[in-house]
Subunit: 308 residues, 2 copies
């Protein structure tokens, strides 16, 4: 079984949407990525940090999904990273209410020895220097390094971000961030410029409008499933990244064709994530449900046209 290294936050989230409000619940990029990746036939390890306040039951749940958590450091007298946010009515924008870095402030990731030869590395949204630190711990160049990032690092750690972008194969980024990173409005031109910064493949996430995959010469467009109700968008982007990297870590050949499939899997899993608060839906997701929704994605996008 291929190995997959996932680095990112394991956290507490408190979320408010027009539909309701949670206390501190399980969240974090690595959590969502890991839960999505656990849908695939891959040997995945989380690399993260939590405080002594982090419930053992959450760790047990992740272990129960066959995720290796050796690399999740527990700092007994530290507190777990905490984020709180409130979504606006349209669910496309949100305000951050609280960010407490806590143990994340001094996070020094350690990739477990058994995973330093992993085939795929998924760098969840974090300080670019931490992402770089993980790459440097790999004993051999992974076949695929995927990086997720966000505007915060463009605003605050530009040089460090460019430095890690040089060393990766795929970047996943949203449309506004792609525009900010390149100064280009057209996503086609933006993707071209991002490719010049390093990655061979660029994935641009457009939320409810789907996602685009670019390589040197081709473009693929995966829609998001049109939903009657988005209950809580938290973690949808991470779930997408987890589906994407999880699927690719199990395929025979990693190339544009399998990346198209990986994007469909990522979109499919993200469409579940938003159905309930936090990780709830992803914790209970069955393979049968995933397969049924993949059929919906096919119906949604596939057509026959005879071109004479």
């Amino acid at each position: 079984m291929s190995k997959l290294v996932i680095v990112g936050t394991v956290a507490f989230d408190a979320i408010e949407t027009p539909f309701g409000k949670t206390d501190k619940i399980l969240g974090g990029a690595a959590t969502f990525i890991g839960l999505a990746a656990s849908q695939f036939n891959t040997d995945a390890a989380l690399v993260s940090v939590v405080g002594g306040d982090f419930p053992q039951s959450y760790l047990d749940m992740l272990k129960g999904k066959d995720l290796n958590i050796e690399g999740v450091e527990v700092v007994p007298d530290g507190k777990t990273f905490f984020w709180s946010g409130k979504y606006h009515h349209d669910m496309n924008s949100r305000d951050t209410l609280v960010t407490e870095l806590n143990t994340l402030a001094d996070f020094d990731p350690v990739v477990p020895a058994d995973y330093r030869d992993a085939r795929v590395v998924m760098l969840g949204n974090l300080h670019p220097n931490i992402q770089l630190g993980v790459i440097e711990q790999m004993e051999q160049k992974p076949e695929l390094i995927v990086l997720d990032t966000m505007n915060f690092w463009m605003d605050n750690s530009w040089d460090e971000l460019l430095n890690v972008i040089k060393k990766i194969d795929v970047i996943t980024i949203n449309d506004e961030e792609a525009r900010q990173l390149t100064g280009e409005y057209s996503l086609v031109t933006a993707a071209k410029k991002i490719r010049e910064m390093g990655p061979k493949y660029v994935v641009i996430k457009k939320g409810e409008h789907g996602a685009l995959l670019f390589d040197e010469s081709e473009i693929f467009y995966a829609p998001a499933l049109p939903l009657e109700e988005v209950f809580d968008p938290t973690g949808a982007g991470d779930t997408f990244a987890g589906g994407f990297s999880g699927y690719l870590s199990q395929v025979e050949n990693i190339n544009f064709e399998t990346m198209k499939q990986a994007i469909i899997y990522g979109s499919c899993l993200a469409s579940f994530c938003v159905e309930k608060f936090g990780t709830r839906r992803m914790e209970d997701l069955s393979k049968a449900e995933v397969h049924q929704r993949l059929m919906q994605f096919k119906q949604l996008t596939q057509f026959e046209i005879e071109i004479d």
Copy 2:
């Protein structure tokens, strides 16, 4: 050959985009719809009105595309409808600078006698009472009536709009307008509510994010082609509607499957429309170019996934 009736404006446009500025050039919903429909094997007639200031060369160009223009009334001492607009930098929004209704103010459409048994009627964006007047002139119920409209009529002629919406088969509308028409944010819920108003099929246009087709139970999503440069968006929605209705007027069976194809054709033609100012690109468009771009749409969206 099936007959197609197209009603809408034939107009002068003056357009300003970040790329440049035009004097009065050929525009109007019926013009763009007609040019798109002329790509198909259909016998299409335009129903519209112009003033004595409208150049014969424009009428000749439309005739040269095998469009019947008997129903385009020329009011010798009247002036042609004139619209002028300026696009913002992102090309997704625009300001209207001038609207001169001129002969359009008293437009009383007359469907040519030979076309009152048309198979398909395409009602371009106009006052809902004019759209209704065209439906009432048809001697037998057309197999398909498609209606395009916009927020202006929701703001100003709500009852009349609802009245015509009752009598049609397909509505094409953009996402914001669908939300305004129903008070629903979710496009899935909005489409459901619009179907309850009359049309069996709802097409929601999302500009650069593509288009959605809904019937009672299915959804289809066609992307827009990601473009490096949008030169002038004027007429893209009408071109989409023209490709959609033009294609359907030539197919053997009009159903959800052929409507999916029609949406791809509409999106494909719209992707050409925006490449040059006004109607320029559509006037010179060859079948070979269209077929090549259809192949691009296939590559953009089609994938193989084995679902075990």
